[in-house]
């Protein structure tokens, strides 16, 4: 205990609120340096908030915090000390990237801390060796077990040799053996670097026994601070768990509820019989030939780490998953997927407390009662009974999402037993719930089993809970290691408690999983290197290495998600074909029908003009006005032409004759075009000298020549295909990018932005680069399609097009980036991007009508959308044959978007969590 007077952190009057919930309430304390300091207390008392603030990941709302003698409320101070701090957030490998391999994950962090290739390589080698991960260097993080994932998280935290290591519940949900190994590793690290401070939060009170210093927290307050022995002495208790309960103020403590299990009654009939149950997902065996029998009235426990197959087995029993092999009998029958009757006898409470969080407690209960078709009167009584029993009276009208975990758990239980099932299956019902609430919950379970004869099948990773079951099955990697009563299991291994017994079973399974001897050697090697290692250079304003760290990471992730990659590369191809062919302003194949009430050579001569047109297709003649009206109404003709009686006679006599046309106006653009066609044809008719009218054809006073520039045949494909390229490059990069940033936020790896030296600008540009590359490859594909498939030649400068495209994809990815900077969920970002790109791209950016001719909000939206400036470049180079000198204004406008979008994203993206 050297440097006992040194402090790693000083906290003064710190308060933190989330809306109306107070996480930290005027907390003041000092954390000694060079020690293993533990934060203990149940979930939701402010441990995580405190650690996140210490690590600089969360903004300080009120109060002051000094870490390593720097005031971390200032961004400059944070930048200075953050290379000396490592932070591992709560949740298994939350700051890791599941699609990246072990090696790639560590490399990513090494790059963030600006290590050279040489330094990076020896450090990684050493860390992998000392954690026993060396054999798994190429395995993706998502395929690691919980314990291994925690070790990887530790490697990533240690890569830059921090002075302070902040770990938030590093061992929750990890099996006891891995947990023990994890603490051994921490001990060795501390032995090697005696100056290192470690601050840990944990929910396992047993672990806290070994810490140097404890901070006990409850309800946002600090209950007590001191060495474990002091705390125990102060409260006159034997264990930290008891000490903690004793420290709790006014709350009513459970009265000797520890062990009141009565033995089950005699030889009861079996309720569940599982024989050789096996479940495979692809080549991965989740559950491997599991067999057990659960008898009536028994509390049967399933014990094992996360990912050991507990949940999968339970899902097979409830019929949610079919078993690959083997069978399970429930109440002596095979459970069929569609068997609704059997479901009425089973209650199931899944791991995630599957309540409808948007409903209130009462609504949840009533909904379930109704789904089980309990008679209304009975349902009312039953709900009242459950509310009383589960102590929910004070919460009846609160939303399930606002309940504390412990209450939610009781509500889940009430919901699961609302129909009085004979069998209750509970999947990790108590994870994340504080010790007191856990006690109360078990009292409820025991009551159900003993007094109501319910059979209970429960899974857990807490050993003290497991010891309350009548019988246990120890599970590991899909297999049952042993099944017996807790007492027999302990006896079989001659262990002092259940945890030790479990560990011996595990060790028997894979002897010598970690050999301490090897580790001691690497320790020495590490020590030598440590001295040689120099502190990473002070955070530069912009580091290309850190930017590329993000770019490489993002690129790797994209490569590993084939669905996203396929979509990114070929989604545009598909839509290009569809849109290139489908969006058109050419109006043709128009249908018309004739009501010729004259039937003379003159009338036929007039109609001949129309019939000869390629735009029109004639339908059977109209019989009368009613027919005309009907066919216009049902849309079977687009236009009707009526030639009145006496048309021929009028012409012959030189009286002005009239022909009338009715056009279907349901689609105005088409109607206008038809009108134009008809007028043109009428002019042609008049000018046609062949027409046998008595009057000479009138010569027009002037010859008006319409010259369609750039596209003599006025074929819409020459404008539409380049425009479609612009549209595709506006939609897809934006949507890919929008997912990319918000994804980190939703999955939690955004923490790496908060606590490492990477700046926001490096983060944003790094994320943008891979998508710019994807967008450019899209452009190449689209370009080739335009030229080869659609035969739209490039008449102008390719270089100008390319330059414009590169700038444009920077703006469209930037546009997505901006949207994702203010969205908090992936679906919101997708929604937002879809609605904010599709409409402007299709309607307001010149695709159909020049932006300058739009009116109202449409023009404003159009002017703010980058595609309005790229479309002229695409169409200009393809169809107008232009080059740089004609297009520089558009290119300049596009360039202006980049700093604006980036700046806006920077302002919206925070370097700390609120």
């Amino acid at each position: 205990m050297n440097g006992g007077d040194n402090l790693v952190a000083v906290i003064r009057n710190l308060s933190h609120r989330y809306g109306s919930v107070t996480a930290l309430d005027d907390v003041s304390t000092e954390i000694p340096a060079s020690r293993l300091v533990g934060l203990i207390g149940p979930d939701g008392v402010g441990k995580s908030s405190l650690l996140a603030i210490l690590a600089g990941a969360r903004e300080i709302q009120e109060g002051g915090v000094l870490v390593l003698d720097s005031d971390i409320s200032s961004a400059a101070a944070r930048a200075l000390i953050c290379p000396r701090i490592a932070y591992m957030p709560q949740g298994l490998g939350k700051n890791l990237y599941p699609d990246l391999s072990v090696m790639e994950n560590i490399e990513f962090f090494a790059r963030l801390f600006g290590q050279s290739r040489e330094e990076r390589e020896w450090r990684i080698r050493e860390l992998l060796k000392s954690t026993g991960l060396a054999h798994f260097a190429d395995r993706p993080a998502k395929k690691l077990s919980g314990g291994m994932r925690q070790k990887l998280g530790l490697c990533c935290s240690l890569i830059h040799d921090p002075d302070v290591l902040i770990l938030d519940e590093p061992t929750t949900g990890v099996d006891p053996l891995s947990r023990r190994q994890f603490w051994d590793l921490i001990d060795r690290l501390r032995a090697r670097r005696s100056g290192m401070s470690v601050v840990v939060a944990t929910a396992y009170m047993e672990e806290a026994e070994h810490f140097d210093w404890l901070i006990a927290m409850n309800d946002g307050n600090i209950l007590a601070v001191g060495a474990p022995s002091d705390l125990k002495q102060k409260t006159d208790t034997k264990s930290i768990e008891d000490a903690f309960v004793a420290l709790l103020p006014q709350r009513k403590r459970s009265i000797a509820a520890k062990m009141n299990c009565l033995p089950p009654i005699g030889n009861a009939p079996p309720v569940i019989v599982a024989s050789k149950l096996t479940c495979r997902f692809g080549d991965f065996t989740a559950v491997d030939r599991v067999s057990f029998t659960i008898c009536h009235g028994e509390i049967f426990g399933f014990v094992g780490s996360n990912g050991s197959g507990k949940t999968t087995t339970m899902k097979m029993l409830t019929g949610l998953l079919p078993s690959t092999e083997g069978e399970a009998l429930i109440f002596g029958e095979r459970l069929e997927a569609g068997d609704l009757e059997a479901r009425r006898r089973v209650g199931y409470m899944s791991q995630s407390f599957s309540l409808y969080s948007e409903l209130t407690v009462r609504q949840n209960l009533t909904l379930h009662a109704r789904l089980f078709h309990l008679p209304p009167k009975f349902a009312e009584e039953r709900i009242a009974e459950l509310v009383d029993k589960c102590d929910l009276a004070g919460y009846l009208d609160s939303l399930a999402s606002t309940l504390p975990l412990g209450i939610r758990q009781r509500l889940s239980l009430a919901v699961a037993i609302v129909h009085r099932p004979d069998l209750l299956i509970l999947d990790e019902p108590t994870s994340g719930v504080d010790p007191l609430a856990r006690d109360q919950f078990w009292e409820l379970l025991i009551d159900l089993s003993r007094n109501q004869g319910m059979t209970i099948f429960v899974s857990t990773h807490f050993m003290n809970e497991a010891s309350r079951c009548d019988r246990l099955a120890l599970m590991h990697e899909g297999r049952v290691l042993a099944t017996d009563t807790p007492a027999e299991l302990i006896k079989a291994k001659a262990a002092k408690n259940l945890e030790d017994a479990f560990i011996s079973f595990l060790e028997q399974e894979k002897p010598g999983a970690v050999s301490p001897a090897i580790l001691n050697q690497t320790q020495v090697a590490g020590l030598e290197h440590d001295q040689a290692a120099c502190r990473p250079a002070q955070a530069a304003f912009f580091s290309f290495q850190r930017m590329f760290a993000y770019a490489i990471r993002e690129g790797l992730e994209l490569m590993r998600d084939p669905i996203r990659l396929m979509f990114a590369l070929f989604g545009t191809t598909l839509l290009m074909v569809v849109f290139g062919l489908g969006i058109s302003t050419d109006v043709n194949n128009l249908t018309f029908a004739v009501l010729d009430r004259d039937q003379t050579p003159e009338s036929r001569a007039y109609l001949e003009e129309l019939r000869g047109s390629t735009y029109f297709v004639e339908k059977p003649s109209l019989k009368d006005y009613a027919d005309l009206e009907r066919r216009l109404k049902d849309g079977s003709i687009d236009v009707s032409i009526e030639v009145p009686p006496n048309f021929g006679i009028d012409i012959k006599r030189g009286r002005p004759a009239w022909v009338s046309a009715w056009i279907d106006g349901a689609m105005p653009f088409r109607a206008e075009t038809i009108r134009g066609y008809l007028q043109g044809m009428h002019q042609l008719y008049l000018a046609d000298p062949v027409i046998k009218t008595t009057q000479p054809a009138v010569a027009l006073p002037a010859e008006i020549e319409i010259r369609f520039k750039y596209n003599q045949d006025f074929d819409s494909i020459y404008a539409m295909v380049p425009s479609t390229i612009a549209m595709m490059l506006a939609l897809f990069p934006a949507i890919l990018m929008a997912l990319a940033v918000v994804r980190e936020r939703e999955l939690g790896s955004i923490t790496n932005l908060y606590v490492t030296p990477v700046t926001r600008l490096e983060f944003l540009f790094g994320k943008q680069l891979p998508y710019v590359v994807v967008a450019l490859s899209n452009f190449v594909i689209l370009f080739v399609m335009a030229v080869v498939l659609f035969q739209v030649p490039l008449k102008g400068s390719f270089l100008a097009l390319l330059a414009g495209t590169i700038i444009f994809v920077f703006t469209t990815t930037g546009y997505g980036m901006l949207i994702s900077s203010f969205c908090s969920t992936q679906i919101a970002a997708l929604f937002g991007t879809a609605i904010l790109t599709i409409l402007p791209a299709q309607q307001f950016s010149g695709m159909m009508t020049p932006v300058s001719s739009l009116s109202g909000t449409a023009q404003i939206i159009g002017r703010c959308f980058p595609m309005s400036y790229f479309r002229p470049i695409a169409v200009g180079t393809f169809t107008k044959g232009l080059g740089f000198q004609d297009l520089w204004t558009s290119i300049a406008m596009l360039i202006a978007f980049i700093p604006i979008l980036t700046l806006a994203s920077l302002l919206l993206l925070r370097k700390q969590e609120k």
Partner: protein, 375 residues
Amino acid sequence: MRSLSNIFWLGTKELRSFFSDWVLLGFAIYSFSLAVISQAQSNSQELYHASIAVVDEDHSELSRRITHAFIMPLFKPPVLIAQSDIEHLMNDGQYTFVIDIPPNFQRDVLAGRQPGLQVNVDATAMVQAGLGSGDAQQIINTEIAQFISRNESTPLSPVNLAIRIAFNPNVTTAWFTSVMGIIGSINILAIILAGAALVRELEHGTMDHLMVMPVTPFEIAMSKIWANVSVIAVAVSLSLYLVVRMLLKIPITGSIPLFLSGTALYLFFATAVGLFLGTIARSMPQLGLLYMLVAVPMNVLSGSATPLESMPPWLATVMQASPSTHFVAFAQAILYRGAGLDVVWPQFLAIGGIGALFLALSLARFRSALRSASS
């Protein structure tokens, strides 16, 4: 009976979740109000404020009359430019139309020498070029004819053509774009709402919970369908009555109740497709991507932007399989042409049939989707 009660109660839960999500609610309101209004008022599908320039090398009374004949709102006031500027101004896309009146134009017209007059049209501004070139020709012809006859009324030709537009006499595009805007919003919302409702339950684990209770996949699917259909149907009715009729003052001749019942039928299809996509996607982002590939073409190619007749025949045939095409067809028939059920029943039948097919497909996939979600 039991099944109906399950469907009803599960549906009320869907409604509660929808109304507790304020962002979603705000989004729905936006897409049926502001989005519809800005599309209706954009004038993007008509000749409106087209930019025009005149190169007047004649400086005569006739050339001035022609210049002044181009008036708002079809054309912006013409700008006089020099001949040498034509090329680069059109390259820049500054003007869609440039009229070149040659020297001595008036003298030659009066002398009956039929001088030429050039109208340069930027053919890459598709809508304006197509509609405006005919109009420009007409305007110039009329102006010259009136100049010659010194008379404001045009003399009648031996044969005259009276063109009238049925159902929308002034060819107001807002009539069309507003309702097509609503249809677009329906497409966007219906599919994603139903799909997200399913994926959300898969991701939150509440689907497992439902599957162990005595309810069938059919009941779960139907509850999501009726809840989402009713929410959007109400939004559409409000949008039609309040936004389109009252705010935009667009007269609707046809039977709105008939249109709404068709809409409900279409929503049944769209939510069934959403559920189907939800059973394919393993996560929300994948649902979003799938949605883009399915819904965007369905929306763009439905005939609301480009008439089906203008598409290649094979594509038009393929689009017959998409209910969105039938939806647009009956929307136009009912709302503008005042058609009744006797006219639109084939479309109703097609939409209902395809919807039922997708419902069957998603039910068939329900269990395997659960499996992949829990693996």
